[in-house]
Amino acid sequence: MKKYNYFLTTCLSILFSIATAFAQDKVAKIALTFETVDSLHVCKAFVTSEGQPVVELPIKLSVKRLFTKLPIGDAVATDSTGVATFEFPNDIPSKDGKLTIFASIVEDENFMDTEVSGEVKWGQIVVSDNSNVDERSFSAGRDRAPIYFIAISLLIIGLIWGTLLYAVLQVFKIKRLGKLEEIKE
């Protein structure tokens, strides 16, 4: 029974994908432009297909992150001139200020999935705060023990071992005195 079900779903999905592939045969081109007006970042995606602007097509904007892309707001449909206008937030962090921004058409009825990207310096520069790793502390590595702690430890160890050394030297002093005594006798 299960096998049969599986077979059926496979057939249906193949049929479905053929149908949608035919529907999505149109290719759309996206051109990305970036501009900053009054410290407001605006990103425009101009969509054309066969030389004509495409109207009412939802475009998604996202920005590249380490693992995945972070979507910026909801999809925006292109206007009568074929342009989708996005207001880009200015608080997207980046190491060097550069951001890779993607505009894409995803699962549209008429157009094939497309994606273009552009790099722009719109990121908010973040500095990695490594103070908890770099600072001298009890949880840091051996070479970053707190100075006062090393000093006190060495002082205590030195004092104690110094005393022990002194004691051992005294024993040898006893021996020397014994030898002197022997000579006297």
Binding site: R142, I150, I160, T163, L164, A167, Q170, G178, K179, E182
Partner: protein, 453 residues
């Protein structure tokens, strides 16, 4: 100057001759019972070595009962016990000496030898508990001074060295006595006495140096001994676990160590008194004093126990509830209360009666206290590990409880045999009671003097 010194280092010849005969007798000949005892200890020690080899060559998952939650088992609790016992040198030798309690004299060397044996095998217990003993050297190569384990390593090696030097220095005059008065011994043994006596002539200058060095070291081992006990407590107190998260922990461990020290001293004194016929030197007076010390130490330890358990129990915060209820009324309750009764109430109450401070009763009490003391440390380690903040769930049955495996028990038994062996062997080759210290004590103020060189 020399007159003043001479008075202390000299005593009557007649008395001295009797004394040295008594005290050197155990070295002269080893009885049949003595030989059997040594053979027994060696056998147990070897069994432990074999068990350890089995543990290291086979999977520890099979040979030990250690699991992720109870990753410290009786090896660690035994280590705590050994360190606690190791404080006996501080209490029975150093503190009494510096505070001029004259009855320390025949006890001091026994105490120091026990301390050395215990600290040695405490250190060994830690190595036995390690997952990778082959990487021991990493402690030197990569040691982090911030880690309490490094403090412990430094503390234990330092304390051990200090104790050995402190044992050796007052031994020098005794070694001359051995050399001069024990003739029927193997040649190597006499040669050893000669070599170790470091040309001791008993001159006033030598005596002066000896006494001064002894005094310095005696003063040094007190903080050292207390320190390693406290660092051992810090191994636990520096963690974030509720049951160990206590500002009282160092003091609690030290007070426990003092109580166990009195008990182990009583135990050893009784055994040596019987085995080597030393009734004249280890007198009933000593047991009377030890009994009184036991009451005091039990009282102090009881006080710290109240702070450690009853005050958190009064608050019964969510963090402590887990462990405390388990100890008071839960699975571990029978265990816990027996330890309280036998480990604190018995040594506090019974020696209050003079009859209980006689050798035999006090000996029995000391055994009870030692056993209870061992389990008290067990109760600090294991139930603590079994009650973490996040509940233990969905793990195999063997992970949720702990009962030591045969291998673990054999190794722990071997550490005990090891300590006893160190003490026994020492007493077979060196005078276990310091001849000159006892003589000096007995002769205080007498006119008739004889330089015993």
């Amino acid at each position: 100057m020399s007159e003043n010194i001479n008075k202390h280092e000299t005593f009557t010849q007649a008395e001295y001759m009797v004394m040295k005969d008594d005290l050197l007798r155990p070295i002269e000949k080893v009885g049949k019972a003595g030989k059997i005892w040594i053979a027994f200890l060696v056998a147990v020690l070897l069994a432990g070595v074999v068990a350890y080899i089995i543990q290291e060559t086979k999977s520890k998952y099979v040979t030990t009962s250690l699991r992720d939650y109870t990753m410290w088992g009786i090896y660690i609790s035994n280590f705590l016990f050994m360190v606690a016992i190791g404080l006996v040198g501080v209490l029975m030798s150093a503190i009494l000496k510096l505070t001029n309690f004259e009855w320390y004299r025949p006890l001091s060397r026994i105490a120091e030898v026990i301390a050395i044996g215990a600290i040695m095998f405490g250190g060994i217990s830690i190595v036995v508990a390690m997952g990778r003993p082959d990487r021991l050297l990493n402690l030197l190569l990569h040691g982090r001074i911030q880690s309490p384990i490094i403090w412990d390593v430094i503390g234990i090696t330092t304390d051990l060295t200090a104790c050995i030097i402190l044992l050796f220095i007052p031994l020098i005059p005794s070694l001359v006595t051995c050399k001069n008065h024990l003739k029927n011994l193997p040649k190597w043994q006499l040669k050893m006495y000669n070599m170790l006596s470091f040309g001791w002539q008993g001159t006033p200058e030598q005596w002066q140096i000896l006494k001064k060095t002894m005094k310095t070291l005696t003063a040094l081992v007190i903080p050292l001994g207390v320190l390693i006990c406290t660092i051992t407590a810090w191994l636990f107190a520096t963690t974030l676990r509720a049951e160990w998260d206590s500002t009282n922990f160092g003091a609690y461990f030290v007070s426990n160590a003092f109580l166990l020290s009195v008990a182990v001293m009583t135990f050893a004194t009784f055994v040596f008194r019987k085995a080597y016929n030393l009734e004249k030197y280890l007198t009933e007076m000593h047991f009377d004093k030890l009994g009184q010390a036991m009451v005091l130490m039990a009282l102090i330890h009881g006080y710290f126990n109240i702070n450690e358990y009853l005050i958190p129990a009064y608050k019964m915060s969510g963090l402590h509830e887990n462990t405390l209820l388990n100890l008071f009324v839960g699975k571990e309750a029978g265990f816990y209360w027996s330890v309280v009764i036998f480990g604190i109430i018995v040594p506090f109450l019974l020696p209050l009666f003079p009859k209980m401070r006689k050798p035999l009763p006090l000996f029995i009490i000391s055994i009870v206290v030692l056993i209870a003391g061992w389990f008290r440390l067990y109760l600090i380690v294991i139930p603590g590990l079994l009650h973490p903040y996040l509940p233990i769930q969905d793990v195999p049955a063997s992970w949720t409880h702990y009962f030591p495996s045969a291998v673990e028990m054999t190794v722990v038994a071997a550490t005990f045999a090891g300590v006893l062996l160190v003490v026994t062997l020492f007493s077979r080759y060196f005078p276990i009671i310091s001849v000159w210290e006892v003589a000096e004590g007995e002769l205080e103020g007498k006119e008739e003097i004889f330089n015993y060189k």
